[in-house]
């Protein structure tokens, strides 16, 4: 059984020292001010502030800055192949680097979908020349995402597919999913599931509740998600298969996953920053650029349930579901607009501003969940322990910035944070041992 492989552009390994950074890595048990010494792309040493030998290294004054293990996003849409007018591997990975990410997993609902070993090989090749962070590719569960026949899962794994997902669509047939879970025993590869009952969702465009009632928009009920998860958790339990539930949005869903975990099902799940920070009240503006996505923004009670789930570990990790769309796909009435928002560049800052600063969640917990998306897919996790590959997000937690003011690294601008003032900014990202991102204003200020 081969493990999936992540790819990035090969370049110069970093040789630098972060002087006096506030280092925080809850998994490695590191918390305190250190000189972080990086030699040839690896963390050589955590030394007392000001004590590290900097010969041959670029010195970065990190006093007052925080160094975290770089984040990992198991759910992004890079739109390659076929929709490069929205995003491609270069722009999408740059966007990830700007958000402090060292790695992402790209979804397979491209045009055409990633359904053959040749598709996966071509994407990996592309990433080796274009990606500024590590990129892994999922392949579809069903051929062409049609929901009927399984893809050649074993060959796809051999070609380097990290896992499988028909994301964008649920696997409608319980039988097809059962067969995929059976086949998983042969080839491995976690199956990531977009959970939704297409009939219950119908023509819905937002959460069903008082706001949809007032706006006259068709609602997507919470039970559309939770009933689908319940079905698939039962199938995974029965087959001993391993599933990862994508973008949880409803309180009922958190409860279903919690019960499945208690029952021993091999199930993990994620929640997105927009579902953790916003509710369907935002939709009153009828602004599809920022507030139309699937699953939809739900009620305050749902948001609280997601926060509780993230805190108690029912929700394993944060994933952005970064979904770039071109302007003309959003400059239409709400019901007609494409579903999805971008989120890579703002995920940490948004969670820091909306949840950490008000005291809802601990900083340590948030950064732990932001890099925990590796586990469901057996990817190696970033660590600040000496000897580790340098995957570091260096952040200025007091910096205030207005999202979109200086444009985006992403090719698309449908950020759910557009216009928001956020506190906390990524100033430097190391991914795979290389400098992947450096905030322009920050690099200007570096003094050796």
């Amino acid at each position: 059984m081969s493990a999936g492989q992540l790819e990035m552009r090969s370049g110069e390994n970093a040789d630098l020292v972060l002087r006096g950074a506030a280092v925080l890595d809850p998994v490695a048990g590191i918390e305190g001010n250190h000189d972080v010494v990086i030699r040839d792309g690896s963390i050589a040493e955590l030394a007392a502030p000001g004590s590290a030998d900097a010969s041959g290294l670029e010195e970065i004054d990190a006093t007052g800055l925080h160094a975290f293990p770089a984040f990992f996003d198991p759910h992004v849409h890079l739109r390659t192949p076929g929709q490069e007018h929205k995003e491609d591997i270069e722009t999408g990975s740059r966007s990830a680097a700007a958000g402090g990410y060292c790695g992402v997993l790209a979804m397979a609902n491209t045009d055409p979908p990633v359904s053959t070993p040749a598709d996966v090989e071509a994407l990996r090749e592309n990433a080796r020349s274009a990606a500024s962070v590590k990129v892994g590719f999922l392949a579809t569960v069903t051929a062409g995402m049609k929901g009927e026949e399984l893809t050649e899962m074993a060959s796809l794994r051999d070609a380097g597919a990290v896992g499988f997902s028909d994301d964008g669509l649920p696997v409608r047939s319980a039988l097809v999913l059962r067969r995929a879970l059976q086949y998983q025993r042969l080839c491995g590869g976690t199956i990531a599931l977009h959970e939704e009952d297409p009939e219950l969702s119908g023509s819905g465009v937002m959460h069903e509740g008082p706001v949809s009632a007032v706006l006259g928009l068709d609602g997507i009920p919470s039970v559309s998600e939770s009933t689908a998860i319940a079905r698939d958790a039962a199938l995974a339990g029965y087959e001993g298969g391993r599933i990862h539930v994508q973008h949880l949005s409803a309180a009922e869903s958190v409860e279903v996953v919690r019960r499945a975990k208690e029952a021993g099902v091999r199930i993990s799940c994620e929640a997105s920053p927009h579902h953790l920070c916003l509710t369907d009240e935002e939709v009153r503006s009828l602004d599809p650029h920022r507030f139309k996505m699937n699953p939809p923004l739900r009620s305050e009670a749902d948001r609280q349930a997601l926060i509780d789930g993230l805190r108690d570990g029912t929700i394993d990790c944060v994933a952005t579901d970064h979904a770039p769309h071109a302007a003309e796909e959003k400059e239409v009435p709400f019901e007609q607009a494409a579903m999805g928002v971008t989120g890579l560049e703002t995920a940490f800052a948004a969670l820091h501003t909306e949840l950490v600063l008000p005291g809802v969640l601990d900083l340590g917990l948030v950064i732990e969940r932001m890099s925990a998306g590796t586990a469901p897919f057996d990817v190696e996790r970033s660590s600040l322990a000496p000897g580790s590959e340098a995957n570091i997000a260096l952040c200025d937690l007091s910096a205030e910035w207005t999202v979109g003011e200086n444009g985006y690294e992403s090719r698309s601008s449908n950020s759910w944070c557009a216009g928001r003032k956020l506190t906390g900014q990524v100033v430097l990202t190391l991914a795979g041992g290389q400098v992947a991102f450096r905030l322009r204003s920050f690099s200007m200020g570096v003094a050796a």
Binding site: P210, V211, L215, G219, L278, L286, P333, F334
Partner: protein
């Protein structure tokens, strides 16, 4: 008032100002020459993406009675058929420098978008299942003539509330005028959470006699196929307003077009309690008043900023 995008944007005083203006146009309507020169030399565009008889004809006639130049665009047969986006269509029509654009669109928020893109005053003539403010204004006008005041009056809105923009706008307008509201219909046709608009929800007509006014909604035939109700017969048996259910002192309204024998029986439509014909007549003068308020009322009036309070949708906004 810069635009009329929703009833939600209007206060009770603003609603009354429009209705008072409509009264003065009713007086004009009794003259031999029913036309006034108010909007001479100005252009009104009506842009209809959905079929309409009452709303389109009354807006068109209202513009003509005010002496405006009128451009009527129907989606069918226009470049919309050729795939032109709403934004591009609005840009095209804006080249004529219209004073007002009256838009009917099958999707919520379309009028709000046009208001962002165009310099013209925008009138929402129905956006999806969201709002239909001119209908609500003409309904309040019609009722006010009969009842003087809506304060404390009990109004039942009966039927397919889920798919009705009229229901939404009227609930807001009637509420603003002080009425007490009940919506009634099969559970699948009452949107979950509608109580937020400040109305009671009933699933039977047993207490219908408590109403001062019964406002029936159209039941579209395609709803059967979607299993909202099992059959027209079953619907009529439980929710049709007929002479047996309608008391003699209750007033009956309907936005039209009526499905005779479905939501209303033939005899109540033609009864003296029915205000349906008056609603149509009110439509003309109320729509004249709307155009007048938007285009001719002048800057001396301290009109509040237009919009529904949510701000420009694509503008950079503040988080909640």
């Amino acid at each position: 008032m810069r635009h009329l995008l929703s009833i939600e944007q209007l206060s009770k005083a603003e609603i009354e100002a429009i209705l008072d203006r409509a009264e003065s146009f009713a007086e004009v309507g009794r003259r031999d020459i029913k036309k006034v020169p108010t909007l001479r030399g100005r252009t009104v565009v009506t842009l209809f993406y959905e079929s309409s008889t009452r709303t389109s004809s009354s807006f068109e006639l209202a513009a003509k009675r005010l002496s405006a130049d009128l451009v009527s665009v129907k989606a069918a047969g226009s470049s919309v058929d050729k795939g032109e986006s709403l934004k591009d269509t609005v840009a095209t029509l804006s080249a004529y420098e219209p004073a007002a654009i009256v838009i009917r669109h099958p999707h919520a928020g379309a009028a709000q978008l046009v208001a962002e893109w165009a310099d013209a005053a925008v009138v929402n003539a129905g956006d999806g299942k969201h709002e239909h403010p001119s209908q609500a204004l003409l309904d309040v006008y019609t009722l006010r003539r009969r009842l003087d005041s809506l304060e404390g009056k009990r109004i039942w809105i009966v039927g397919d509330v889920l798919h009705s923009r009229v229901a939404r706008s009227n609930l807001i307008a009637f509420k603003a005028m002080g009425a007490e509201l009940t919506v009634c219909g099969p559970p699948a046709l009452i949107p979950r959470g509608l109580e937020e608009l400040g109305c009671e929800v009933e699933h039977s007509l047993d207490r219908l006699r408590e109403a001062d006014v019964v406002y029936a909604l159209r039941l579209q035939r395609e709803r059967m196929a979607e299993s909202f109700v099992p059959s027209l017969r079953e619907y009529a048996a439980h929710f049709q307003i007929d002479s047996r259910r309608l008391g003699r002192r209750q007033l009956l309204m309907h936005p039209g077009p009526v499905n005779r024998g479905v939501e209303l029986s033939g005899e109540v439509i033609d009864s003296p309690q029915s205000l349906i014909a008056e609603q149509v007549a009110s439509g003309l003068v109320v729509r004249m008043a709307i155009l007048y308020e938007l285009l001719a009322a002048g800057d001396d009036e301290s009109a509040p900023a237009a919009g529904n309070g949510a701000g420009r949708p694509t503008a950079i906004g503040q988080p909640a």
